[in-house]
């Protein structure tokens, strides 16, 4: 919560003793200089109204949060490369565009490579004030674009890659990706049979893989914590080299949650420990967002239709306990309940 004793701040500036602290988007009692980007009436609205995302779309929200912060951090000097996926489809049905940033789309799997090319071109042209952001969903990032992404990391190309993780291929009708959590129902992992839902023990953590490349900055963030997300984007834009931010964005359609519950569900993921929020520099974890109000994993699962097969008349207590074990491991591994950690 406060500046660490070693003089390093370990998170966004938080203000104590105000009605709502900095949990809300804005706070009329705070000085403008410490207000969030999203509370600014002149924010960029990088993703404009009229986009065709579903009601309560977490990805649309996350993309605006992140790009508005990147725009402010660079004084509106960014170019964005976008992978195929929901984000691309709902924002740019020909001939409309919702983007208020220089934006280009190529293929599902090559956004990191396209971004690398843009960065190289800007370097050749001597435009060192223009920065490059690449973005995609979990499918384009952790599966299809993974080779390009790893290449971009190992070459330490000057790109911030943002993954909006809604944990499956939503655009094509909710198919499993390697970011789909254990036990979740998708159309390729139905919630029936001996082993309902996504198989336990599969999948991968791309933030940890990104850290293994030893790049300057890796962070996870969530639409449920705006201040933390903005802080991380701003920090990433202040660095050069390959940077990666992985943002948790609930999908009401694919997760079977109420559109009005998007932020609540994302918050329960953090507060249960199932989505650890942390940051790492040069491969070392340097900060984590402390759990403020610990909840059992079950509270998160129950808010979503994709885990419904675990409940009902005969709850699947075994699988619920396994998922709780995953949460417990995250809490232990990242120190999500440690004292003295920012919350």
């Amino acid at each position: 919560m406060e500046a660490a004793t070693n003089g390093q701040t370990v998170g966004p500036a938080r203000v104590r003793f105000y009605q709502t602290g900095t949990f809300t988007v804005g706070n009329r009692l705070l000085d403008v200089s410490v207000q969030s980007v999203q509370s600014d009436p002149r924010r960029n609205n990088s993703l404009n109204s009229g986009h065709r995302a579903c009601q309560g779309c977490g990805e649309a929200l996350g993309a605006r949060y992140a790009l508005d912060a990147a725009m402010r951090a660079t004084k509106n000097r960014i170019v964005v490369a976008n992978a195929t996926g929901c984000l691309e489809v709902f924002s740019t049905p020909y001939p409309e565009s919702s983007w208020r940033v220089p934006w280009l789309h190529s293929l599902f799997g090559n956004a990191p490579a396209v971004a690398t090319g843009i960065a190289a071109a800007l370097k050749v042209k001597g435009k060192d004030d223009v920065r490059v952001v690449a973005q995609g969903g979990d499918g384009g990032t952790v599966d299809i674009g993974f080779g390009c992404l790893s290449g971009m990391f190992e070459r330490n190309d000057d790109v911030l890659y943002i993954c909006y993780d809604n944990e499956a291929y939503m655009n094509t009708g909710v198919q499993r990706s390697s970011a789909t959590p254990a036990g979740a129902k998708t159309n390729t992992t139905p919630g029936v049979g001996e082993e309902p839902g996504n198989v336990f023990g599969q999948g991968k953590s791309v933030p940890l893989i990104a850290m293994a490349h030893g790049i300057p900055y890796v962070a996870t963030a969530s639409v449920a914590d705006l201040r933390d997300l903005e802080y991380k984007v701003q920090k990433a834009m202040g660095l050069h080299g390959a940077r990666y931010i992985h943002v948790h964005v609930p999908c009401p359609l694919g997760w079977g949650s109420a559109p009005s519950d998007t932020i609540r569900v994302a918050r329960l993921a953090i507060e249960s420990g199932l989505f650890p929020v942390f940051e790492a520099e040069w491969g070392e974890v340097t900060g984590r967002r402390r759990i403020r109000d610990l909840v059992p994993a079950q509270a998160y699962l129950e808010a979503q239709g994709r885990f419904r097969h675990l409940f009902g008349k005969h709850p699947d207590t075994r699988r619920i306990a396994w998922i709780q074990d995953i949460a417990n491991r995250n809490i232990r591994r990242f120190g999500l309940l440690d004292e003295g950690v920012q919350s």
Binding site: Q19, V25, G26, Q55
Partner: protein, 541 residues
């Protein structure tokens, strides 16, 4: 126009796509009634003045209180703050210390000399108010603001009524009372002291008043027959408090019994301590839980060493020794005699058995009805006699300063309507802002600020104020603990969480607007509103 290869349409913005047509529910900004406001007998808009106070706009906050209650510095001290009993924050940590902030604002107003201007041109109407207690003063203040001429006739030598003669100094310093009354006088209200009204009809006729508000209070002490000798001093609590107020020497002796269980009994007990009694014992026929006195007063009395004898009645006295009987509560919680007797030695007995209203001056008022010793009034505070209104302790209600102030305001509004031959209709109340509408996630943990109390030694011997006020810094902190239940406090959450940018900020204190061209009706704004100020309503088809 020459287009690039394979491009046949002009590039356009997605603003052409009005996603509002998807909507099945629409968000609407609402104001709900915060529980503090709902439980305030004076009808203060507490949430609103805390909103202003938390910005540091103390004068604005004070003026917001003054819309409904002309006595904030008094109220912040003596009101039993039912608002805090209703406060939703109690379910999170502790209720907001509303009374302490109100007191800070009231004191600030006195310190800085803030005044209230008469808002309306003179109407030429004249209203007589009988009694310069809280109810009469409140009514006078509101009538004066509406432009009416007001004369208060007060039987006593000083204005303030029971605030001066029943509430001890250590709870309410007199300079506070004087300052708040003076402010009302400066608005043009005439207060004539030592003017006991003996024949209301005659006074009304002679003065040519267009309407009358009766607020004489209840200050005749109820008596109980006790067989007693001459050796022991027996007096009633109101005389004790009145004598203490006038600074007269009250000889009580070493050990004093107080008989009764209301707030007046405790005021008398605590005053007796300060007047030199070594031991004061409150004798009450029921239990602490069933005592009408407010818990805070009981606690402060206990702190000061006042002793209690629960479930006990006094039967009689002989030679400085009181015979008492033990009581037991029956199934319905009523005390019943047990036949077990005991004696308590004491030098004086103070009776605090409640008060009656002196109604003798109302003898000839036509239509005015009296029931159970109090004057019957309608919902508009009017008695059975046209143009004669009544409020405060002399009408059926809880007898507190705050209720009296509320009566004064209500009566003033109805008198104002009466004077212009209309009827006053209160605006419709908003739906209650219940705790389940609060999104508690957004509120930072912040425990209540404690008010410093005077140390016990000084409390036992002097009439200095017991409970101290807040400093500006902690008053501000306390104000900022308000959850703003059911009323937008401009936190920008709706503006931030809308995935469709359909909400715009309209500037400071102007809240937000919704662009229904793009709002898809997802309901995120309503779900993430901390205070429950957005309602989702089904779209009409």
């Amino acid at each position: 126009m020459k287009k690039p290869f394979a491009i046949t349409l002009d590039v356009g913005s997605s603003l052409a796509n009005k996603t509002g047509s998807w909507r099945t529910e629409r968000p609407m900004y609402v104001d709900r009634l915060p529980p503090c406001n709902a439980s305030c007998p004076s009808g203060e808009n507490i949430q609103r003045w805390l909103f202003l106070a938390e910005e540091g706009d103390y004068e604005g906050a004070w003026r917001e209180i003054m819309v409904n209650n002309p006595l904030p510095a008094i109220m912040g001290r003596v009101c039993y703050h039912p608002c805090e009993g209703g406060c939703n924050r109690a379910q999170l940590d502790h209720p907001v210390g509303i009374h302490a902030v109100e007191r800070f604002l009231g004191d600030e107003a006195i310190r800085r000399g803030w005044r209230v201007e008469v808002g309306s041109p003179p109407t030429g109407k004249r209203v007589l108010i009988v009694g310069a207690g809280p109810s009469g003063l409140s009514c006078a203040y509101h009538l004066a603001r509406m432009g009416h001429g007001v004369t208060i006739l007060e039987a006593g030598p000083m204005a303030g009524g029971m605030m001066r003669f029943a509430i001890p100094k250590y709870r309410l310093p007199r300079e506070i009372v004087d300052a708040e009354i003076q402010r009302i006088v400066e608005m043009g209200v005439e207060i004539r002291l030592n003017q006991k009204v003996t024949d209301l009809e005659a006074t009304r006729r002679e003065g040519g008043y267009d309407a009358v508000f009766l607020a004489v209070g209840a200050h005749i002490a109820k008596r109980a027959y006790l067989p007693a000798g001459d050796a022991t001093k027996i007096l009633d609590a109101l005389s004790l408090l009145r004598e203490a107020e006038r600074g007269e020497q009250v000889l009580l002796g070493r050990r004093v019994l107080i008989y009764g269980g209301g707030n007046t009994a405790l005021d008398a007990a605590r005053s007796a301590k300060r007047l030199g009694a070594a031991e004061t014992i409150v004798v009450y026929r029921r239990t602490r839980e069933r005592m009408p006195a407010h818990d805070e007063e009981v606690r402060e009395a206990l702190d000061e060493g006042v002793m209690f004898r629960w479930l006990t009645t006094i039967k009689g006295e002989q030679g400085g020794s009181f015979q008492v009987e033990k009581m037991a509560l029956d199934g319905e919680g009523r005390p019943q005699p047990t036949g077990e007797f005991d004696t308590i030695e004491a030098d004086a007995l103070v009776l605090a058995l409640g008060q009656d209203v002196d109604l003798s001056f109302l003898g000839s008022v036509p239509g005015l009805a009296v029931e159970d010793g109090v004057v019957r009034v309608g919902r508009d505070m009017m008695t059975g006699c046209r143009g004669v209104f009544a409020g405060g302790d002399m009408v059926p209600a809880e007898r507190t300063v705050t209720v009296a102030v509320g009566h004064g305001k209500k009566a003033a509004r109805n008198i104002d309507a009466f004077l212009s031959d209309t009827t006053y209709t209160a605006p419709e109340k908003h739906e209650l802002a219940t705790f389940d509408r609060i999104n508690t996630w957004y509120y930072a943990d912040a425990p209540r600020t404690m008010q410093v109390t005077l140390e016990r030694a000084r409390r036992e011997s002097t009439f200095e104020e017991v409970v101290q006020g807040l400093e500006e810094s902690n008053a501000l902190f306390e104000a900022r603990r308000c959850l703003s239940c059911g009323n937008c406090f401009e936190c920008d959450n709706c503006f931030g969480v809308c995935p469709d940018n359909a909400i715009s900020k309209l500037g400071r204190h102007n809240r937000y607007g919704i662009n229904y061209d793009y709002c898809k009706g997802c309901g995120l704004c309503a779900a993430e509103c901390p205070c429950g100020a957005i309602r989702m309503e089904p779209e009409s088809t």
